[in-house]
Symmetry: C2
Subunit: 151 residues, 2 copies
């Protein structure tokens, strides 16, 4: 966690005031995290392709995402260093992972270790909560082309 820096950008006007322990009062301390209360309905929704909608909420060390997949939606084979836990709320996703085919139904959970390649297909219309540690930088940066390139 970065420490707050002593005040401002080194303007040359008053050299004596920058005492090292002094923090800039206008700066929000990064150690003053606040709780966030968010209805999913208020969170940006991305239409990544006609069969896939995604929202996510980012914390300090983890991210929770809500995916709505229409029947037939395919998440192509990919892997990431982030640990993933997939909780199916409605519908079902079929996974190809670790040499197996696994259908994860509503009320079921799949843990996906870091770096493990996986592919998925929505067997029916599906709502899925995915948890990642750490947050998916490629999702935040919108560089997740494997999801965006599809029909």
């Amino acid at each position: 966690m970065p420490k707050p820096k002593p005040a401002g950008k080194r303007k040359s006007k008053s050299p004596k005031k920058s005492s090292p322990g002094r923090r800039a009062p206008e700066k929000v301390s990064p150690t003053r995290a606040e709780p966030k209360h968010l209805p999913w309905g208020s969170v940006e929704l991305e239409e990544l392709n006609p069969l896939l909608q995604r929202q996510f909420i980012v914390g300090k060390r983890l991210m929770v995402a809500r995916l709505v997949l229409r029947k037939g939606c395919i998440i192509p084979l990919h892997s990431h260093h982030n640990e993933q836990v997939t909780c199916i709320l409605e519908g079902a996703l079929k996974f190809w992972i670790d040499g197996k085919e696994i259908v994860v139904q509503a009320g079921e959970v799949l843990t996906i270790p870091p770096h493990m390649p996986h592919k998925a297909e929505a067997v029916v219309d599906t709502i899925d909560l995915d948890v990642f540690d750490p947050p998916r930088k490629d999702w935040i940066d919108k560089t997740d082309l494997y999801l965006r390139a599809q029909r």
Copy 2:
């Protein structure tokens, strides 16, 4: 972190497992992590008090828990170093946190930064998915007396 173990597959019927729903994450080989597919119905359910049932699934760096709270169930004021994200699936929880009262309804999310004290009460019968990073050691060790001591 976790100690190395010989690679082999862990079949779910392994005779040394004492209770079928309970997973011992520390026994999973860090060199050969496997995906885990778990219906919530197969996961050990703890009745912490007459108003509170809890299940959890532990990954390497995060934990997902499913809590069923009857109306009036109180989670006493407490804090922990773990980051928490609470996703209400059904019902509503009223939180006292950061000097505010916040009612989190079904379809809403509350992020709780590490070390932030919070208390909650089920406004109605509620189902809640809580995500923690890292996993809650006190839950795994069953030393979470703040939850167990209540009526």
